[in-house]
């Protein structure tokens, strides 16, 4: 009896560093699911992958940069955004994507998040929100829901949770959206849309953390989290972000909330400099042989 071997090619395979797999993520974790949506969006978009750079901070989501087969930067805790800012400013041709977690981007890196949105630096930020510090063992984050249990809030969190989409909207982001790890198709489409847009773009993705968040809070396993997302999510595109707070047991408002036109940092700088502006030198080697671009 002969068997036919079917060669199955995963379309996103080439976008992953195969020699780095399997990932370190726990079973039931939502980060990998979001990476799949991200990879599909990259493939669908007419985007030059050679010029596409991914930057992460520290933590479970911080590992995303290392699994992507792109120029990858795994930086320090909370500082992916300022590193990405430097990359983008020094080479505006790069498509710069920051992919990191809520603890990284919103707690320790919260100030950078606000100011990158304010400046409207032309980068896309994907923030995986699992509402906990997972890699360090389940401590409370700025996004941990009020009263939730964690290893550092054994009597329940005394602090209210931060609404990230409202924060970046207030700071001036060009594009703001939220989905969950359940909304794989919607997430892919939103990433596709965000990749096309200029300015500071922010996508929050709620992701289950069965190991540290669900278990500790008696919320069941990863499947339960997905069922919960399905049941509680309400798609409201254009919803004012002050109406999108995440409350325990309440509705999860998802969708694309903000899509506004604002000049990004470099565009504004060039316009304002007017005659004083001269083109950035090309990358170092050429620059040194050709000299600077203006008599000075």
């Amino acid at each position: 009896m002969s068997t036919t071997e079917l060669e199955v090619h995963n379309p996103v395979e080439d976008l992953l560093r195969q020699d780095r797999l399997p990932t370190i993520w726990c079973p039931g974790c939502g980060i990998g699911t979001t990476v799949n949506s991200f990879a599909h969006a990259l493939l669908k978009q007419d985007i030059d992958l050679k010029k596409t750079v991914i930057v992460s901070g520290i933590g479970c989501s911080g590992r995303v940069s290392g699994y992507m087969n792109l120029d990858s930067f795994h930086t320090t805790h909370g500082r992916a955004i300022p590193f990405a800012t430097g990359l983008k400013l020094a080479n505006p041709e790069l498509n710069v994507i920051v992919y990191s977690g809520d603890g990284d981007l919103a707690s320790i890196g919260g100030n950078h998040l606000i100011h990158a949105a304010r400046r409207n630096i032309d980068i896309l930020v994907v923030c995986i929100n699992n509402m906990i510090y997972a890699m360090t063992g389940g401590q409370a984050a700025a996004t941990t829901p009020s009263s939730a249990l964690s290893t550092t809030t054994p009597y329940g969190a005394f602090e209210p949770e931060l609404n990230l989409v409202q924060l970046v909207d207030a700071a001036g982001a060009s594009f703001v959206a939220r989905w969950t790890a359940y909304h794989v198709v919607q997430l892919e489409r939103t990433i596709e849309k965000a990749l096309k847009k200029k300015g500071f773009r922010f996508i929050e993705v709620l992701s289950p953390c069965p190991t540290y968040f669900q278990r500790k809070n008696n919320m069941g396993d990863a499947l339960q989290a997905m069922l919960d997302y399905k049941k509680r999510s309400k798609i409201k595109h254009g919803c004012p972000t002050w109406e999108t707070a995440l409350t325990p047991g309440g509705d999860i408002i998802v969708g694309e909330f903000v899509d506004r036109e604002r000049e990004d940092y470099l565009t504004r700088m060039r316009k304002q400099l007017g005659p004083h502006y001269s083109e950035f030198p090309p990358q170092l080697e050429e620059h040194e042989s050709e000299g600077c671009s203006k008599e000075c």
Binding site: D71, T75, G86, K88, H115, S278, F280, L284
Partner: protein, 385 residues
């Protein structure tokens, strides 16, 4: 390779050390900088902010020093030369990213115009209190280079040198100025561009399939590729193998950390930069760096008038420390005297190298002003006995 003539302000200027440092950075090829205002360093980036558009560059004022110290590393990995500038408290905030630059071998320059500390201390007054922080401030083991100018002219010269060394060794290089040198106005001669040598970036010529991001050359320094060139580089602060991939085990750690150390240690003799005077036949040698070296000269002159044989040794490159030179010199003298605008930092290194061979007399100073030459003279006299 030489500096770009159109961006170098060749000629004789009457400017302060901060301004000279900025012009040195531009002459060295820096077109990008990020910074956060702090006295007494801010004049450097104020000048750079004005000059950057003229030379096709950019200055961004970040939200804090932490952001500045990593934004410049993004700029470097995008293929540019970049630096940041700060003073004491800001330098403390940058420490984690000095470690990142050391670990990822990012050629970048940190300028610290030192002021009195600890904490907010004396914002407008001088100190040399950050010297050990420059060497050991970040966590873990790493080796860096730190230079110490004692005049506005040297602020220019050593700024160029700092960028060149950063490129040659792919390490963070620190230019350790102090408030006095930064704010001192003197004649600064900026040479013609063809007299300013520039160390070119070690940019790889290999095709992506043959390139390994952290494969060291014979001098233990690897070549670089930038983001956006198709190399799919993987840069991480985690312990990594030659591909740049995280590899968290003692063997990789040993190999990597040893190389990061060795690439500087092996070149240490060549990196030594000192200004020596009358060491031959000296009974006492005054060892100093930065602004303190200029004050010490008054005490040295007074001692010589009293008939004491005094030599001087000024450290221009403080880290790596001129260990071999001190070991050779120590048995030939009665004493070494080291005035510093701190409670005794680099003198610890001097004592280590001179151990048992001669007296080492520290002349500490809490900062806020320079030494009274009488204190140094007193130490010289004690050493000569």
């Amino acid at each position: 390779m030489h500096a770009d003539p159109r961006c170098v302000l060749t000629g004789t200027h009457f400017i302060n050390g901060d301004a000279a440092c900025c012009e040195g950075a531009i002459a060295a090829g820096a077109r990008f900088a990020a910074g956060y205002p702090i006295t007494p360093s801010t004049e450097i980036v104020e000048r750079f902010a004005a000059r950057a558009p003229e030379v096709g560059g950019l200055f961004i004022q970040m939200e804090d020093e932490i952001a500045s110290s990593i934004a410049i590393q993004g700029m470097v990995w995008a293929g540019q030369k970049a630096f940041t500038v700060t003073s004491g408290p800001g330098f403390s905030l940058m420490m984690e990213h000095i470690g990142l630059a050391a670990m990822t071998e990012t050629p970048v320059v940190f300028v610290d115009v030192q002021r009195g500390g600890p904490s907010t201390g004396l914002p407008t007054l001088p100190s040399q209190g950050d010297m050990m922080q420059a060497r050991f401030g970040s966590h873990g083991d790493y080796a860096v280079i730190a230079l110490s100018p004692n005049s506005p002219q040297e602020c220019f010269d050593l700024a160029v040198k700092a960028f060149n060394l950063a490129e040659e060794f792919r390490v963070p290089v620190m230019l350790m100025m102090d408030e006095c040198v930064g704010h001192m106005t003197e004649r600064v001669v900026i040479p013609p561009a063809e007299q300013i040598p520039i160390y070119p970036r070690r940019h790889t010529k290999k095709p992506p399939e043959q390139f390994r991001l952290y494969e060291p050359g014979e001098d233990l320094v690897p070549e670089m590729a930038y983001a956006g060139e198709g190399y799919k580089i993987y840069v991480t602060g985690l312990t990594h193998d030659e591909r740049g991939y995280p590899s968290l085990n003692p063997a990789t750690q040993k190999k990597l950390i040893t190389r990061l150390f060795e690439k500087i240690r092996r070149a240490a003799d060549r990196l030594v930069m000192v200004e020596a005077d009358r060491l031959e036949g000296a009974d006492v040698v005054v060892v100093s760096y930065g602004i303190t070296s200029r004050v010490a000269m008054r005490a040295v002159q007074a001692a010589r008038e009293k008939g004491i044989q005094v030599g001087t040794l000024r450290l221009i490159c403080v880290w790596p420390f001129p260990e071999k030179l001190i070991r050779e010199l120590a048995p030939k003298v009665k004493a070494m005297v080291m005035p510093e605008l701190n409670m005794g930092q680099v003198v610890i290194e001097l004592e280590r190298c001179a151990v048992g061979q001669c007296k080492v007399i520290s002349v500490p100073h809490a900062g806020g002003t320079v030494h009274d030459p009488a204190e140094i003279l007193d130490a010289i006299e004690r050493g000569a006995q």
